[in-house]
Structure formats: structure tokens, C-alpha cells
């Protein structure tokens, strides 16, 4: 079934009786060519592109809970490609380009909205670093602008320009950055994959990975064994848990990241903004809620909930940047589990087991990567070669000293 404005009108006039399920609920088959473990954004995107772009068939996505229930359903919806390093920027720019055509591609309005993102700077050193980064972005074919204080003020006059501990001096801007309705991304990919024959199997947790002679043969699940020629794991947040089934220790830790939304407010903030003197970033959703967050809680956790110090730290940043929000109310907080990797960058790679592939380590930046991550993982699964934009995302980069450390924090995951 194709969605369109005409269809919406036709259905409205006939009592919405014609809408079909967005996806089937199939029983798992005995075996597949491809099993994608994880029905979050990356897993669903992988299955979608495997079927659509790489023309593969006999694909299943196994999800322990509900589709889109991972971090794709629990994030602050930001898309951007404002990365510094060669290992990252091409990949994220590829992702941004995929976002730009995504809705027409999968026939689902995910509200990809390029209202711009600014990273504020407050010191000369930050300005220099953003200049370096902005130039790197442009060299990689992305867009970037450096705004001075007056330009920022014209854009957001209500920021704290006059009474700030760390005055705003300007910002790095990427106009093509923005937000996307996060759940719709999962649903759009799910529906697109389902329409192309992918079996999306919910409430099916992988509890073991079966191998024979160094080759994967399938997965043990809560709904029984399912055979597979190739298994791709895309379970960010639970990566170590799943890969421990094959005794792999990963270069990452699981950490909780909290995020927050305010009550609905009339429009205030058009684009996305990050504070350069505290842990705070914000955008405003189409429903009017301020969607914001800050730093991770900082300790290993699988609890999907955090504690007060970070809540207060984020609010302090918000109040310092935008003292007008004092009387806005925080409505809801949530916590997601991040694969915090050792250099803050992801991994899309083969493993020491033939036919077993891994995608993870997205830290708190996985949402924006969803399309490219799916595409590149599908590329790797289908061709056994890394996609040109994802060649740096290898396991052995740590052994070789080829880290992709955007923040320069070293091998301490909670600092990335």
C-alpha cells in the first residue's frame, strides 16, 4: 500500500477502513540467508537496504521487544554531518545525503527537517577548532559556516549574551543539519523492509549464536533456533551482551544517556543548538516540546535510567544559555543505553567468525547515522567489503593506532 495525500483524503472520507497493517507479524522460518539481530533503526535500515539496494532475499530481523524500541525510539532526533576527522566525515555526510532523500525513498514521512544546527563557541581556542572542523567538512563536500556573535544574536536573540559566565562569541553552523521524527524512521524502514519481503520478528530475543568450524550457522532465540548463512548484529546498547555469546570482548562500555522534553510551547527555537560552555543541546519538536540533553551519566549501566547530577547539570547549562526557559517545565526524562566505544567512533566490521558481522559502538550519535549505517552494513553483509565511507570503522584500528577520536579523550569511553 502506497501512502500519499490523496490516499489520506480518500481514507478520511471512507472512515479509514482501508489502511493496511504497516507490517506483517510472520512466524520465523527455519532458516534465512541473512539474519539481522536487532530491530532498531540500524537493524531495520540494514534489512531495508539489503533487500532494496543489494537485491538480497530471505532476510529476517529479530527483535527482542518491539520494532524501533532501541535507541531509535529514545533519542533527541538530531541529524548532522559536522564531524572533523577523515574516518568519520565522509560516512556522516553520506548519511545526511541519504536522509535528504529518505522519505521519498521509503514512502513514509519521517519529517526530515533541515532547519540548521549551530555549535556555539565561547573561546578563541574553540573558534579555532571549529574553523578547522568547518574547513574539514567543506573539504569533504558538506556545508559549514562560521557565525560571529552578531549573526548568532540575530538568529537567537533570547540567548544569554549580556550576563553570561562564558560569553557567546559565535558558532559553527551546518544549515543542512536538523531533526527527524525518530519513531517514523524505524517505522518507515520497517514498513519498507516488510514490503520487500523481509520478515520482521518481534518478541524474539537472540540468546546464542551457533557456529561450526569457525562459521556461523544460525542463532538461538527465545522462539527457537533459526538458521542463517550470515548474521549481522546491530544491537547498540547491548552489543557486549550479544557478542559475549561468541566470547568476544568489545572495545566499548555500555552507558546511560538521559534526554529530556519540556511541555509543549509555542515556537521558540527553529533549529538545533549546542552550548559550548556546558553540557546542553536543544531543539524544538514540531509538537512544541523542547527536546534537550547533555552528557552521559558516566558510569557503566544497562538500567535505561539515570540520576539527578546529570539532570541538574543539563538544566544548569540550559538556564545559563537561555534564561527564558526558567518557567518552562520539564515534562519527561528518559534514559537509553549507549555503546560507548574507546575512541567515540563506531565499528562496522567482520568478526573472527565467518559470516558473523558487527555494527555498533555508536556512542550517543547513532541516530543520525541510521541510513548510512544500514547502507554500509548491508554493503558489508552483501559484498564482504566495507563501504568506501566506512573503511575506518574496523575493530583492529585500536591495535594499529588508527583511532578516530573526535574529542581527543583517549581510551576512556565515558569521556567521548
Amino acid at each position: 500500500m502506497r501512502y500519499s495525500g490523496f490516499r489520506v483524503i480518500a481514507e478520511a472520507l471512507t472512515g479509514h477502513k482501508g489502511w493496511k497493517p504497516a507490517w506483517r507479524d510472520p512466524e520465523p522460518q527455519a532458516s534465512y540467508d541473512y539474519i539481522i539481530v536487532g530491530g532498531g533503526g540500524h537493524g531495520l535500515a540494514t534489512a531495508y537496504y539489503l533487500a532494496k539496494e543489494f537485491k538480497q532475499a530471505r532476510i529476517a530481523v529479530l527483535e527482542k521487544g518491539y520494532l524501533g524500541g532501541g535507541n531509535v525510539g529514545r533519542n533527541t532526533t538530531i541529524i548532522r554531518s559536522n564531524y572533523l576527522l577523515d574516518g568519520n566525515e565522509p560516512f556522516y555526510e553520506f548519511s545526511l545525503k541519504l536522509w535528504e532523500g529518505l522519505e521519498q525513498d521509503f514512502n513514509y514521512n519521517a519529517m526530515v527537517s533541515q532547519r540548521g544546527i549551530i555549535n556555539l563557541y565561547h573561546t578563541d581556542a574553540q573558534r579555532d577548532a571549529y574553523t578547522r572542523r568547518g574547513n574539514a567538512m567543506i573539504l569533504h563536500g558538506a556545508d559549514a559556516e562560521l557565525l560571529n556573535r552578531d549573526q548568532v544574536r540575530a538568529m537567537y536573540p533570547f540567548l544569554n549574551f549580556d550576563n553570561a559566565r562564558f560569553p557567546i562569541k559565535g558558532a559553527l553552523m551546518q544549515r543542512r543539519g536538523g531533526t527527524v521524527r525518530h519513531d517514523a524512521v524505524a517505522w518507515g524502514y520497517a514498513r519498507g523492509a516488510d514490503q520487500r519481503g523481509v520478515d520482521l520478528i518481534q518478541n524474539c530475543e537472540v540468546i546464542g549464536i551457533r557456529t561450526e568450524g569457525g562459521r556461523v550457522t544460525g542463532v538461538e532465540t527465545t522462539r527457537g533456533f533459526i538458521g542463517a548463512k550470515k548474521v549481522g548484529v546491530a544491537v547498540a546498547g547491548s552489543s557486549s551482551k550479544v557478542m559475549s555469546h561468541v566470547n568476544m570482548r568489545l572495545p566499548m562500555e555500555s552507558h546511560v544517556l538521559q534526554a529530556f522534553v519540556s511541555e509543549g510551547l509555542k515556537p521558540l527555537i527553529d533549529g538545533v543548538m549546542t552550548y559550548g560552555a556546558g553540557h546542553f543541546y536543544v531543539s524544538q519538536s514540531d509538537k512544541g516540546g523542547l527536546v534537550f540533553g547533555g552528557d552521559i551519566d558516566g558510569y557503566n549501566s544497562y538500567a535505561q535510567r539515570g540520576n539527578m547530577p546529570v539532570v541538574e547539570d543539563v538544566a544548569e547549562g540550559g538556564m545559563s544559555l537561555m534564561p527564558m526557559i526558567g518557567r518552562a517545565r520539564l515534562l519527561r526524562s528518559w534514559g537509553g543505553i549507549m555503546d560507548m566505544s574507546m575512541d567515540g567512533s563506531p565499528i562496522i566490521d567482520r568478526t573472527h567468525i565467518d559470516g558473523l558481522y558487527f555494527n555498533g559502538g555508536w556512542c550517543y550519535g547513532g541516530f543520525k547515522a541510521t541510513p548510512a549505517s544500514g547502507w554500509c552494513f548491508a554493503h558489508l553483509l552483501a559484498t564482504d567489503k566495507p563501504h568506501p565511507t566506512a573503511t575506518a570503522y574496523r575493530f583492529d584500528r585500536f591495535r594499529k593506532g588508527l583511532m578516530i577520536d573526535e574529542k581527543g579523550q583517549g581510551a576512556q569511553p565515558n569521556l567521548h
Binding site: S240, R249, P251, S254, N300, M342, F398, R399, P413
Partner: protein, 99 residues
């Protein structure tokens, strides 16, 4: 969270700075390897690979805004329940570390 400091009693975790898995105490001796490659392998595994368990986890916390003790905290990463807190120095010595 509250960490029951072995010397100071219950303290808000906000006073502490987190480092990570207490296995970081088990730093290899750089001069003990037959080759640079062997040393690199060992240091790679030591520095970069983690068990990252969903469950009991021994981890290093620094009482930065307190007495500057490094602690080994045994904490469940699913429930956040803390079952044991030790001075890291004692743990290191128990593991045979000295000078």
C-alpha cells in the same frame, strides 16, 4: 547513587569521578615482553577490551571531591545496586602489585 566509602561512609556518587573497569589495575609490565608486538597485543587488550557485563561489575571510582581515594566498587549495572566498596590500593596490593 550513594557509594559507601570504606573510610567515610555513605557519600553521594556525585563527589566521585568514574574511570571504568577495575581490570585497569592489571596493567602489564611493559618491560616483561619478548617483543614489541607481544607488548602491543597485551597493552591493546588491557586498555581497549572490556567485559562490559550486564550485571555485577567491579569498577574504579575516584573520590575527587572527597579524600582522593581510588575505590573499587562492585555494582550491578542493571540495578545499580552496590554490594562492595574497597580501597583500590588494597585491591592492587592483593593482586600483587607493589612498586
Amino acid at each position: 547513587m550513594i557509594i559507601n566509602h570504606p573510610l567515610l561512609g555513605p557519600r553521594d556518587a556525585q563527589e566521585f569521578t568514574y574511570l571504568g573497569d577495575a581490570a585497569l589495575i592489571d596493567r602489564p609490565d611493559a618491560l616483561s615482553f619478548p617483543s614489541t608486538e607481544a607488548a602491543l597485543d597485551a597493552f591493546h587488550d588491557y586498555l581497549y577490551l572490556r567485559d562490559n557485563p550486564a550485571g555485577e561489575h567491579r569498577e574504579l571510582w575516584f573520590h575527587e571531591q572527597g579524600d582522593r581515594s581510588w575505590l573499587v566498587v562492585t555494582r550491578n549495572t542493571v540495578t545499580h545496586e552496590i554490594t562492595k566498596v574497597e580501597l583500590a590500593r588494597d585491591v592492587a596490593r592483593a593482586k600483587g602489585r607493589s612498586k
